[in-house]
Amino acid sequence: MNVLKARNVGRLDQILRIGISIGLIYIGFIDRNLVGDSFSATVLGVVGVMNLMVALLRICPLYSMVGIDTCHTSHRE
């Protein structure tokens, strides 16, 4: 219940994040020549992995710090 309560990433948010994460991971670790710079590719890849974790857990620490909640907004209204 607590985990459910702590969730702050909504369904649409999650889908968008997964899409973006797959793109970033592909650029960062799978086809590194797309960027042409290995450092940049690695950074993008790491960002993609972190974003994917947020999307799968549906808990974004930054959201909770700032007070954003894309998960419960629709239920409140």
């Binding site: 960027v35 042409g36 710079d37 940049s40 950074v43 960002v47 930054l62 700032v66 007070g67």
Partner: protein
């Protein structure tokens, strides 16, 4: 623009500016160092090529070797110059000749091993390696744009990715900051809003919030066809608590009272403190019976004693109830009617009262009457009546009591009990008293001229005893009417006297020193302190008529009258019996040793114009007339 948007815009602006500056600086630094490094690289390649050529049997300008070298050292866009043994520079592996100007420029810089040369609008990096043995020299030339392209492609992507990450972080920092700022501002606003709409002492809503809630309840009631109740209440004698136990104690009492009121009402009812000891309660969706039940509950809860700082004290409230829509449909109207009801409750002492339109129209009438009173005093429309007071030893008239009367042109006779408090409330009592004194002394002088040596009793308001200029003004009137101060008795009720005796003392002493006498009116109906009474310059006690009239019916009244007469005599006062209406009463008080008597048995209060006739015809007056003076 909202604060969060402003913070976001500011941080993003700063971040992007920083990114642009950082990118530009990084580009120039990188370009400079890359040029130097490329020149070194070209020198390294050139020496390797030269070494390979000198070892090789193949002609240096063989296309195969050049092709191989260019591939090996990634020199596909570089120009290779070779200086032969004759000292001539010529290109290798590139068709056509380079412009002689470029060649001569490099030749001129014989002392340098490399650098940048500009030719035909384009910069070239060059590096030269010489073979000292056979005077061969190799120069590698490469356009600077090649280096720039390499930097842009590599640095550009890095900067783009870094900028993306930095901007992403900046957005979050901005959001974080704005959320912190917004939260603080919000907290502050909420605190200010709370402060503006609530009472500091009790934390209850204040008048502003009450108006707002009352409006909402009224609109809801209007929409749903419901009724609701509004209470206005205040604590009886709260001022005394404040004065005797201090304001801090009073504040604590108000806090406790507010708690008890809150405990007595439902959750959806609202309590507000209007100021001082005045509270208001709004009871939505409540009929009159429900409102009365709630009012009873509040008064019952307040009845049990409060324990504040180990002092046990009780608080009694007077609650005025106004019902929507019976007693008003507008907020102001309801508040006003609840206020009127509260005064009705206070007057009746019942604790609560529902607004009564009949009584309120009286209040409106009272307001109109107050206006008329001012006019009546200013335009000399009041009159004086005089009632004789008989000396029981000599059966002569001892004095008259002057009584103010008001014959209203529309409403007829208005009782002094009604208009005197009005005059006090309106601040007209001083003018009224001086007018009465002036008229009464005028009549006194006329009587004196007619041969009647009479004293005059005049009723005095307690307000006059607070006015230190009053004795002086009285002196002037006495002088103007040529009446001796000894002839005037000022009557004041004991309750009025005891209310603020310390302040009155100064004025009373001055009046006494002027020779005026003081009588305590309606003695026995108020709360006299004998300790104070004995200190005051009192000459007379007037026993209230209620004791005299009922003497026959109630034995205890006789005892009281007898006791008061004895008390008065023992303290050295003369005693007047009011309300003597028949001979039996007269003989009764005479038998008890009373000094003077007043009442309908002798005469009703007489208008000024009838006074002469009465003095001529009355048996009491006949005994009084001073023949010698009359003759003179």
């Amino acid at each position: 623009m909202r604060t969060s948007t402003q913070v976001l815009a500011a941080i993003l602006g700063i971040t992007i500016l920083a990114q642009v500056v950082f990118g530009a600086v990084a580009y120039w630094i990188t370009l400079d160092s890359s040029r130097d490094r490329r020149i070194e690289m070209l020198a390294h390649y050139a020496s390797e090529i030269l070494f390979e050529w000198s070892d090789s049997s193949t002609a240096a300008d063989s296309p195969d070797i050049l092709d191989e070298l260019q591939k090996k050292y990634h020199l596909n866009k570089s120009i290779i110059l070779l200086r032969d043994m004759k000292g001539q520079l010529h290109t290798v592996g590139i068709e056509g000749e380079l412009a002689p100007g470029l060649l001569s420029e490099i030749n001129d810089q014989a002392d340098k091993a490399g650098g940048i040369v500009e030719f035909d609008g384009e910069d070239y990096l060059w590096s030269r390696v010489e073979n000292g043995q056979d005077s061969l020299a190799l120069v590698l030339l490469e356009p600077v744009s090649l280096v720039e392209q390499a930097i842009v492609s590599k640095l550009g992507i890095r900067l783009l990715v870094t900028a993306g990450v930095v901007i992403w972080m900046a957005v979050w920092v901005a959001l974080l900051l704005s959320s912190i700022i917004s939260k603080r501002l919000n907290d502050k606003n909420l605190a200010l809003r709370h402060q503006a709409l609530h009472d500091n002492l009790t934390g209850l809503p204040n008048r502003n919030l009450l108006y707002d809630r009352l409006n909402q309840v009224r609109l809801t009631a209007h929409r749903k066809g419901q009724c609701f109740a509004l209470f206005i209440m205040d604590l009886d004698r709260f001022k005394e608590v404040n004065d005797t136990l201090g304001h801090q104690f009073g504040d604590q009492l108000l806090q406790e009272v507010s708690h008890r009121i809150q405990e007595s009402i439902r959750e959806n009812d609202s309590v507000a403190r209007l100021g001082g000891d005045e509270f208001a309660v709004v009871l939505p969706d409540t009929d009159q019976d429900g409102a009365i039940q709630c009012a009873k509950r509040i008064t019952r809860n307040l009845e049990s004693k409060f324990n504040i700082n180990d002092v046990r004290i009780e608080a009694k409230a007077s609650i005025g109830i106004a019902m929507y829509p019976d007693h008003g449909t507008e907020t102001e109207e309801l508040l006003q009617h609840a206020d009127v009801a509260m005064y009705q409750a206070k007057q009746s002492g019942s604790g609560y009262a529902v607004y009564n339109q009949a009584l309120d129209s009286h209040s409106v009438q009272r307001l109109r009457l107050m206006g008329d009173l001012r006019e009546a005093i200013e335009n000399d429309q009041l009159s004086l009546h005089f009632q004789p007071i008989i000396d029981l030893d000599s059966n002569k008239i001892f004095k008259f009591e002057a009584l103010a009367r008001w014959q209203h042109p529309e409403q007829g006779y208005i009782l002094p009990d009604v208009f005197i408090p009005m005059a006090e409330q309106m601040g007209l009592i001083r003018i009224l008293t001086l007018w009465v004194v002036d008229r009464a002394l005028n009549v006194c002088r006329q009587c004196s001229v007619a041969g009647y040596e009479l004293n005059m009793s005049i009723n005095l308001s307690t307000y006059c005893l607070q006015d230190t200029s009053f004795p002086g003004e009285l002196r002037t009137i006495l002088d103007e009417n040529d009446v001796s101060a000894e002839c005037v008795v000022l009557e004041i009720t004991e309750s009025a006297l005891m209310n603020d005796i310390k302040r009155a003392r100064e004025v009373l002493d001055r009046l006494h020193n002027m020779g005026l006498k003081l009588a305590i009116d309606d003695f026995g109906t108020g709360f006299s302190s004998l300790a104070y009474l004995k200190q005051l310059p009192v000459h007379e006690l007037k026993i209230d008529k209620s004791f005299i009239i009922d003497m026959d019916k109630d034995e205890s009244n006789t005892t009281i009258v007898h006791t008061v007469i004895d008390l008065g005599h023992n303290l050295g006062y003369r005693v007047v019996a009011e309300g003597v209406e028949n001979e039996h009463a007269l003989e009764h008080v005479r038998g008890m040793g009373c000094d003077y008597a007043q009442g309908y048995y002798f005469s009703r209060p007489l208008p000024e114009e009838e006074l002469d006739l009465w003095l001529q015809e009355s048996a009491w007056a006949a005994l009084t007339k001073n023949k010698s003076r009359s003759a003179s």
